[in-house]
């Protein structure tokens, strides 16, 4: 592993973003729109619901905190996934992949470089959404305390695993598969229980959710907001699942890359 070559992959993306207003806008645009839209919707529903529940003499749960916390954490997963798969697409669109793959850069160095790109994008999205949530809705994401770090790491790990599978699909099926870079992560949204507890899912989806590491993170987040504590068992299970998925997706990518070398398709990608 050569750190300079990893840095070169990051540097290429920094140069790309530095010179592109639309790309910079994209980093801020969706997190901002998402947060404001869902924040105000939740605020409205909570207000209406509180009035109804007050009449009934019961208390309203922390819907704004659940929604905004869920939204901010979901964006971490999404940005981690897109951080690697869209950066990979940028190299395909620029027809730069061939130049990269004939340099001394190894596959693991390239992937690590893309992971660093995604970390930068995750940090930006997190800071923007966290600041907006505090300013407009008085929700402070740091209320999650020490559990925030394992939550973020687990969501990033799943995002990278999905991103690697997306990249493998693009390498195998060409640019026709590029839609996956924006769509694949959303397959995990319903079973991740981002905005609702797992228990509201039908039984077969509840079973499926036990295999989705992000569902433990979002359940954990609600638990921390409600009780101020976190059960470590489910988080440990999420971490083990993520390690397995990350390792598996890396092997899938390596296998697909090897197949592309055998079929000679790498020079033709992007044509």
């Amino acid at each position: 592993m050569n750190p300079r070559r990893v840095f070169a992959v990051l540097l290429r993306q920094i140069y790309l973003y530095r010179r592109s207003f639309t790309r910079i806008l994209d980093v801020f645009y969706w997190p901002t729109v998402d947060l404001l839209l869902w924040g105000f919707v939740t605020l409205y529903l909570e207000k209406a619901g509180t009035e109804m529940l007050e009449k009934a003499g019961t208390e309203m749960p922390h819907y704004v905190s659940f929604f905004l916390g869920g939204l901010i954490l979901w964006n971490i997963l999404l940005r981690a996934q897109q951080g690697i798969s869209v950066s990979f697409l940028e190299d395909i669109w620029a027809r730069n992949l061939l130049n990269l793959f004939v340099s001394p850069l190894t596959i693991s160095e390239y992937l690590l470089g893309l992971v660093l790109v995604s970390v930068v994008k995750v940090l930006i999205a997190f800071l923007v959404m966290g600041a907006l949530a505090a300013f407009f809705f008085d929700f402070h994401v740091l209320v999650l305390g020490g559990s925030l770090l394992p939550f973020v790491l687990n969501l990033c790990a799943l995002g990278w695993a999905i991103g690697l599978v997306t990249m493998a699909a693009i390498l195998r099926f060409g640019q026709e598969a590029e839609i996956l870079a924006w769509a694949l992560a959303f397959l995990f949204l319903p079973v991740s229980a981002v905005f609702y507890p797992v228990e509201v899912l039908p039984p077969f989806l509840q079973k499926l959710a036990t295999w989705v590491p992000s569902s433990y993170v979002f359940e954990g987040m609600r638990q921390v907001i409600l009780e101020g504590s976190l059960k470590l068992g489910p988080l440990l299970k999420a971490s083990l699942l993520n390690m397995a998925y990350l390792g598996g997706s890396y092997l899938i990518f390596l296998r697909v890359h090897h197949g592309a070398l055998l079929r000679g398709t790498i020079p033709k990608i992007g044509e």
Binding site: S20, N99, V102, L261, R263, P267
Partner: protein, 257 residues
């Protein structure tokens, strides 16, 4: 301003190498399913030598370059650079090899300098900014270094790709149709640059081309490919004598067309 080439290696320089084999290809075969693009290709390339690879479309020229770059895995056969197996020492070998093609550009939204800086880091150069400035000067692009790559003409783009290809002082340079699509004047300048660089730096060059006059002008030897097989390999004068041909064109049509 006419581009100039800076002589880096002197016979007393420890990097100076007498004429010796830098690339060995042995019985290289590449089949895609039932179709074999390369069949039993064997040749060697020495330092300072320019090998021109000619053949009609579909002869296997690009597949050969792709195999030599590790972009395509051969079905069988061996590729050795500097006496080492390519696929076992890929990263180490590619640090001393480089590539340019008229069909492969660099990212258009980056400036010339940014593009080369990225590759200077990828090739682990000690003083990336100095080397980038040096190669941009060699190719007469230094004044345009802050411009975006998309503003370049096709001739300037090819010069930039060649600048990228020379960044790491390659000991082997692989060029896929380096003058395709260039006007005669720019093509001539590009040929001169390749020729001068190979002579002065003793870099081994393997290039493919459809331009037989170009191949005749700069090649030390030629390799004629047809349907993935070598039809002829050697010095042009010797091949003309061997096949009793009056010109390279006649030889080409007899062997490859």
């Amino acid at each position: 301003m006419a581009p100039t080439v800076v002589v880096r290696v002197h016979p007393r320089d420890p990097l100076y190498l007498p004429m010796h084999t830098v690339l060995e290809v042995e019985d290289l075969t590449k089949c895609f399913g039932k179709i074999c693009a390369l069949k039993g290709i064997s040749f060697t390339l020495c330092s300072g030598e320019i090998l021109g690879v000619v053949g009609p479309n579909g002869a296997g020229k690009t597949t050969l370059i792709n195999c030599l770059l590790g972009l395509v895995l051969p079905t069988s056969g061996k590729i050795r650079y500097f006496g080492k197996d390519f696929f076992r020492n890929r990263s180490q070998i590619l640090a001393k090899v480089n590539f340019a093609s008229s069909y492969v550009a660099l990212p258009l939204s980056l400036t010339l300098e940014e593009n080369l800086l990225v590759y200077a880091h990828l090739y682990g150069l000690r003083e990336p900014r100095e080397r980038v400035a040096e190669v941009l000067k060699i190719f007469g692009l230094y004044e345009k270094r802050k411009r975006r790559t998309r503003t370049l003409s096709s001739g300037q783009m090819m010069r930039l790709c060649l600048a990228k290809a020379l960044l790491n002082h390659p000991r082997v340079l692989l060029l896929d149709e380096p003058t395709a699509g260039l006007d005669p004047e720019v093509a001539q300048k590009t040929r001169d640059l390749i020729l001068n660089y190979a002579r002065q730096e003793r870099t081994a060059v393997l290039f493919t081309s459809h331009n037989l006059a170009e191949v005749e002008r700069i090649s030390s030897r030629i390799l004629v490919l047809q349907k993935g097989q070598i039809r002829a390999l050697g010095k042009i004068a010797k091949l003309l004598e061997e096949f009793e041909a009056e010109s390279l064109e006649e030889l080409y049509f007899r062997l490859a067309a």
